[in-house]
Symmetry: C2
């Protein structure tokens, strides 16, 4: 399990064997239940226990904004900001030729079909600010361009709280190039 090294694993194993209570059994059941009931939402790829996930099923959320992310786990930090109240679409990864991940391995066709289905005024691409995230962004933009929808990308630049001396060269370059009018 991630974050559990050999020493922790040994300690957990011994605790499980020596424990007199029901806790190890309960953990085992919880794992099985989670594996059985939590599935990816067929519409957006987020986690769900129902037909659709909580976000897709929420009628109070804006239905005209779609935020595209790489992984379903990227939805959690975005939700924490409370800055976005639209819908999501997780691609399930990014284009990465070195890892043999091409566009056909991602949920890009589903994205195009969803946008073609209509109703979206804006598609926000919230992919990573590295080479592969950028390549995936460009690929998706090319596919969405012919559709009648505004395509935006989250801002790349100086992270909040940081000074110029702590920023790397590429970030500063990006921050200067994408400066905003006040």
């Amino acid at each position: 399990m991630p974050g559990v090294g050999p020493r922790s694993a040994e300690r957990i194993a011994l605790w499980m064997v020596q424990s007199r209570g029901d806790q190890p059994e309960e953990i085992s059941r919880a794992i099985s239940t989670t594996r059985e009931t939590v599935r990816p939402c067929p519409q957006c790829g987020f986690f769900t226990m129902q037909e659709l996930c909580e976000i897709c099923a929420d009628p109070t959320r804006a239905a005209d904004q779609l935020c595209v992310v790489e992984q379903p786990t990227d939805i959690l930090p975005l939700e924490k900001t409370s800055a976005f109240r639209g819908r999501y679409h997780s691609l399930g990864g990014r284009i990465s030729p070195l890892d043999h991940i091409g566009p056909e391995d991602l949920r890009i066709n589903e994205l195009v079909a969803r946008v073609q289905g209509g109703g979206f005024a804006e598609v926000i691409l919230a992919l990573a600010a590295d080479v592969e995230g950028q390549a995936t962004t460009n690929y998706v933009v090319e596919l969405l361009k012919p559709l009648a929808v505004t395509i935006t990308r989250i801002a790349h630049g100086l992270p909040v709280g940081g000074g110029l001396e702590s920023a790397d060269e590429l970030t500063l370059y990006q921050a200067l190039s994408a400066r905003t009018k006040l």
Copy 2:
């Protein structure tokens, strides 16, 4: 000296005393010479040994773009990006009431006078993306607004190379709010 702890200091001191060559003397002379000859440029606040600094004196640099930074040391990382070929203005700090630094302690009047002097089409504010940097940015913007000049700010958002999961909440909020059209 910054970065020199008690152990390093002791080692350096012993080396200076025991050294048979001229090196300690040379270092002493270099320090004195630097202290005597390197002064802040009267125009922009950067380091110089001449009347004006290299950047202010360079006729090949654009004279219609002015980049405002907090410290003269902020000019070095910006120069490394090669993204900016205009002039600079260092404020010598940022407004920070807790440290008893007000607008009158900074080179803000000099900035306004310089922009009033004319010739600048754009003033780019490249201050830190934290509370004090933001407050200083707002203060300067209020003063420059009446002048006929475009005011921009470097982009705040996701640092280059980073994914969504490594970004903090405020940065993600900023990145979402300041998203750019593609």
